[in-house]
Symmetry: C4
Subunit: 203 residues, 4 copies
């Protein structure tokens, strides 16, 4: 039943493409002056940066997760598919927020953006829960080491964090994006210190 | 003659890109109000969802198929190329149905969409038939276990199912899309129960 | 110095993306009636089909080539890069021919299309010549078996074939595209029979 | 802690997609005469060529770098992510320079283009510095052989080179692009001669 290799390869492909397609949201200004036109697009760049960071971090976490998963089954592949669905859509809300963040509709735009990230966070947790519950798809040693609980604890903050950003969207849109950015930074922080058990993980 | 690795890698790449390019069909509304504009696009989202699910399931099945194939030849690679041709085109009929499903031309749009899925199903069966006929490209143990017949039996429903959706397009377009969606769900169902022989398959 | 794996992986990625990006040339008709609009685009579909087949076959040949190459060096990677440059550009002349083949400018469009394929053929032969000349990057057994000459003989027809299509473009554009299509079919034909030595190749 | 495989695979995917997406900047002329329209776009082709070469060379160097790296950690993955961020954005400044190089705004356009390449060069050096400082992520034998210093010396020219191109943009835009092109050629030159130690590197 073990065959994580191709699932990882396919997922890597989807992550890599989604993160690269974000660039299609960057449009060259059609009217001079060029410099002013480029600078006026700063919300587009900010949205690009946050989305890039978000997908990158989701990939890094997906990567860590698979270091502990030693087999896959069909249900797992469906949950993984849900996560990939979430990731592939990211360029769309990114574009929404980039185009509307400086308009009176900024609250709706930020809510769409943060709300979608929350949905992806839920998908990610579903995937991890399915894989780790009772050590279902983990290696025996990882399961016995209580690894699942430690990782679960860490991921726990994703859901409420993005939900808070979603709620904040309706009150103060720029702050909700800043919170979203901070969440990405938090999840991006090196975890060498917090993952002492990793040395014992499957190579 | 054995060299399935790179064929799988190339196919994975094509599946991953096609499934991610679907997002380019999602356009940001250009006129306020934003929320109304986003909600009015629901057919686009529905088409996105069905196409995403369809490509994902085709990938999962392609993946299972390769678990039993132990060598490739040039003819197989051509049939595989035909299947990939079908998959890469999917964003186009998806866009057609998304733009026309709420217009008087919905029957033509649904027929194009369901008809293309039918064609892909035919390509998929051609590929599997070529690989499994007489155990041509299977491992000896899989062949002797009668595996080919079991899988063939399962895939048998794809052709008639999508053909029925195609015919239904001309009568009642929304129902034909619903049938298409149900077919995807059916093929997505975990097959742990129906695939007891998988434990004996090549690892 | 041996490290063909990542070069193959990168090349596979480029081939897979280029072949999938072709779909972006397929545009949904904006005015009813839909069916007539779709049918009127047949040159777009024809160009799509030829280009898809061409890239697929280039990939298959690239794949066979790497079955005999056991090491890479920087010069080889540059030649490989040239080939990839040729492949990534394909969606552009495809679009040119699709939009202009039914206009009075069909000769220029066909010449651009066939001419570019000729250039790619030259790049492909440069790559193969560099790798095989004196058995430079081949395994010793392949070299001694005279494999290089056999393959070189086969590829020999690519250059003159596409050049003929290029010249024909100025005289009779539709025929030049038909010739291009026939060349793709020729190179796509299974070579089980003509490659008896393959069984002895590196696995 | 060793797991360079998937980082390489993901990076390869991003490089491959970014290099292929460049083709979307090539637009088919909408008005006859076709030939004149195609020729008038020469700045687009020139920008395409330089950017393609640049990404290709960054990939080749990334590839060499990983031949000496035997483990990754989270910090390294973040620096690698920064580099990938730089690479994925390349189609955007390419488009800027293509559209504005023949206008009075050519200096701003060239500065954006060369400036972005300079930023990528900085990211690349950060990544290499982090990996090689004290032999952190290198194999012991590579570290002891003083490999890091040799490579560092070679990469040293990237930063000042692209910075010079950036400064030159404001004085003489076409020359700055020519310098950029020459830098790519310089880094593309085969390094068989200058890398005698490579034979001893990890296979």
């Amino acid at each position: 039943m073990k065959d994580t290799g191709r699932v990882e390869a396919f997922s890597d492909g989807v992550f890599a493409i989604a993160i690269t397609l974000l660039v299609l949201d960057l449009k060259v200004p059609t009217q001079p002056p060029l410099l002013a036109g480029l600078l006026a697009q700063w919300p587009v760049y900010a949205a690009y940066l946050i989305s890039f960071l978000f997908i990158l971090i989701m990939w890094v976490n997906h990567h860590w997760m698979f270091q502990h998963i030693v087999r896959v089954d069909s249900t797992f592949m469906l949950f993984n598919g849900l996560l990939l669905l979430g990731i592939t859509v990211v360029p769309f809300p990114t574009n929404v927020v980039a185009q509307y963040i400086l308009t009176p509709e900024q609250n709706v735009a930020a809510a769409v953006y943060n709300g979608w990230f929350f949905v992806i966070g839920v998908f990610f947790n579903l995937l991890w829960q399915y894989a780790s519950r009772g050590g279902r798809l983990l290696s025996k040693s990882d399961h016995e080491a209580g690894l699942a609980q430690i990782i679960t604890a860490r991921y726990r903050w994703g859901g409420p964090g993005y939900f808070a950003a979603f709620v904040l969207s309706f009150i103060w849109a720029p702050a909700s994006l800043a919170l979203n950015f901070l969440l990405a930074i938090f999840f991006a922080l090196p975890r060498e210190m917090s993952y002492p058990w990793r040395r014992a993980a499957k190579s």
